[in-house]
């Protein structure tokens, strides 16, 4: 089938990551991180992980298309 599921997965996670990084950057030092995530800006950090995961998925899609 011509449709590779890794493409939408890669896109969605990259977008999720960008949203979280943006929100995390805008709320740096906010009390929500003290209240919830042990003082860590988890939006920022987990956003970076999600973008990385999304990009790996997109790279795999491209790799398969080239073959």
């Amino acid at each position: 089938m011509g449709f590779d599921i890794r493409m939408p997965i890669g896109m969605l996670f990259t977008l999720f990551g960008i949203l979280l990084i943006g929100y995390g950057a805008a709320t740096r030092g906010s009390a929500i991180y003290v209240e919830h995530s042990l003082g860590l800006n988890m939006n920022l950090w987990w956003g970076v992980v999600l973008v990385a995961f999304g990009l790996v998925m997109l790279a795999l899609t491209r790799l398969r298309r080239k073959q």
Binding site: M1, L19, Y23, V34, H36, M42
Partner: protein
């Protein structure tokens, strides 16, 4: 304590909805024949089928229920994975898939028809179809209630919207759409729960810190206290655990339930089909860390507002609401409330609402932003379960009921149309069941009980059918009925400790045995069902005429050529992969012994 999701959280959830629907729309053009719609044209690569195999089962019951069980029983809950699901998944992949896939059956009931006869298929198809729509309804109800309680969302709106989205993407793209979305949902659940476990463990000081805080040795060892039922919080001893949970219930579910087997049947080759459950076993093995640990942690941590001095204002502002919410709770697990908002008491003590353990963890550790991702993971688990039920239902309905008994000679396009139509009415019945459940909770309890009786003996029938060529159709059919009756009889004559007669058992009058827990009673009910079915099937098979051997080629172990494995690399061989899983499995059991 009720969180207020912000715009960012809703944006994440809406984005997820958009992608799920988008996948359905893209796949619509590939759905040309009924085989495309019900079996994905048997073209799914092993890794996709494998993740879908895992994800279709990963409904809300698992994410919520395993967290609840972790909070209640601790790490022993891992038995559901490490001696339950995973060995069964290896077995279905290595030993049973050659017959499921090799026979070209389009469904599990259809295999029964090929191997045995029409009545055995009919019994399995009808009970499965009814069971599937109702359990889908039960999980919708659970989701609606949870979202209502946790976020104050409207019960009706929550289940209507999620049901409509699932309807749209399964209607458009059939099984392929369900499978592709299950892969997406799998990653979402994993990526949503890893930060939860990370933050939770970091807060309690890792696994060692968690052990200290739980301060109950029986909750942090999986086997050490299994010698006697009275020593461990589950109230089950090792024999009931091994035979009841692992052998009868887990093998019965993973090896015979069309909901999961359908994913492997859609694989693109025999080796891919056999690899499907084995590939699924790898992530399944580590899932206890994602779903059980949050429940265990929930029982021992406190709400941050109460212990964190740096959030002084919110302590002052939140004190009143907080303390009333937590009176009688444990950790961040709140007590159960009845319709009037009073805590439910048993023997003067409040009953904890364990089902809220994992959801409360999300609320506790996720700031806005990440909370959206966590809620998304939760909703994804509901949807993947719902879609799994829907696609299994429409296939069994169309092939095993409609085509077999109602309209045998229609065109393929007609069956494709019927598949789409049954997607709609299947979900409609589930929705109705969810609303019925809201009004009359007990009806669904009774239904689930009946399904448990019907399911319990299944594995005996399949095992005999696949590995003993002498098994006959009459033997299989009457064995199944006999096993169901055995289950109902055993359940009717026993009770778990502290329960009253009714849905919990004992309805036949005399109570012959009182089990230490409901779980023990369930495991032993399954054991009785299996033994009843096994014995009856063997006896009746020996008394009835066997089928000629040439008719059983490809359906029975001794009359089927071993699957060809030469030319495969080591990591492509199902048996090699299964062996790796087994070694890791032994290791995990030892580490958490």
């Amino acid at each position: 304590m009720r969180p207020e999701p912000h715009l960012i959280d809703y944006a994440i959830i809406l984005l997820y909805f958009a992608f799920v629907l988008g996948i359905g729309f893209v796949l619509k053009k590939y759905m040309k024949t009924s085989t495309d719609f019900f079996l994905s044209g048997r073209s799914i690569p092993a890794w996709i089928a494998g993740l879908a195999f895992l994800s279709a089962n990963l409904g809300a019951q698992e994410v919520i229920g395993m967290g609840a069980s972790g909070a209640k029983y601790g790490i022993s809950t891992s038995h559901f994975y490490w001696i339950g699901a995973v060995p069964a998944m290896l077995f279905v992949g290595i030993f049973m898939m050659p017959f499921y896939y090799g026979s070209r059956a389009r469904s599990v009931p259809e295999y029964l028809k090929l191997r045995f006869d029409e009545k055995t298929r009919g019994f399995n198809a009808i009970s499965f179809a009814v069971m599937t729509v109702f359990s889908s309804g039960v999980s919708m109800y659970a989701m609606g209630k949870l979202l209502q309680l946790l976020l104050g969302w409207n019960f009706t709106a929550a289940i209507l919207i999620s049901a409509l989205i699932v309807l749209a993407y399964t209607f458009l793209g059939g099984l392929t759409s369900a499978i592709y979305n299950e892969v997406l949902q799998f990653f979402l659940i994993v990526m949503g729960f890893i930060p939860l476990v990370y933050l939770g463990l970091r807060d309690v000081g890792g696994w060692e810190g968690l052990k200290v805080r739980i301060a109950n040795d029986a909750m942090v060892h999986s086997w050490k206290y299994m010698g006697h039922a009275s020593d461990n919080p589950m109230g089950v001893e090792w024999f009931g655990m091994l035979m009841g949970l692992a052998f009868v219930l887990s093998f019965g579910y993973w090896c015979t339930d069309f909901l999961v087997v359908q994913r492997a049947m859609a694989a693109d080759s025999m080796t891919a089909a056999r690899r499907t459950p084995v590939i699924a076993a790898f992530p399944k093995m580590v899932f206890p860390f994602l779903v059980i640990l949050p429940g265990m942690i929930a029982g021992v941590v406190t709400s941050s507002r109460m212990h964190d001095a740096s959030a002084k204002e919110s302590v002052v502002a939140g004190t009143a609401a907080q303390s009333s919410f937590f009176t009688g709770g444990k950790g961040i697990i709140p007590p159960k409330y009845d319709e009037e908002g009073k805590p439910v008491l048993v023997g003067g003590k409040p009953v904890l609402d364990y089902d809220l353990a994992t959801p409360m963890m999300l609320v506790r550790y996720f700031p806005s932003g990440l909370l959206g991702l966590g809620l998304c993971a939760l909703i994804a688990s509901f949807m993947s379960g719902m879609a799994g039920n829907t696609t299994a239902f429409n296939t069994v309905w169309t092939y095993d009921i409609y085509q077999s008994y109602i309209n045998k000679t229609a065109s393929d396009q007609h069956y494709l149309w019927m598949g789409r139509a049954s997607t709609i009415f299947g979900l409609a019945i589930s929705l109705m069941a969810a609303f019925v459940a809201k009004e009359f909770n007990n009806i669904l309890d009774v239904l689930q009980l009946v399904f448990a009786f019907v399911n319990a003996p299944l594995f005996a029938t399949f095992m005999l059918g696949m590995f003993w060529k002498r098994t006959t159709g009459h033997g299989a059919f009457w064995g199944l009925l006999g096993g169901t009756v055995a289950a109902a009889t055993h359940y009717g004559l026993t009770l778990p400790a502290g329960a009253v007669m009714g849905v919990k058992g004992g309805y036949l009058g005399p109570i012959l045995h009182v089990y230490p827990s409901e779980m023990a009673q369930n495991f032993w009910t399954a054991i009785f069902a299996w033994v009843g079915c096994f014995t009856l099937t063997v006896v009746i098979s020996l008394l009835t005429a066997p089928r000629p051997e040439q008719e059983l080629k490809g359906l029975v172990y001794s009359l089927t050529a071993k699957p060809e494995e030469s030319g495969l690399k080591w990591y492509q061989k199902p048996a090699t992969l299964a062996l790796i899983v087994l070694v890791l499995l032994v290791g995990l059991n030892l580490v958490f012994w």
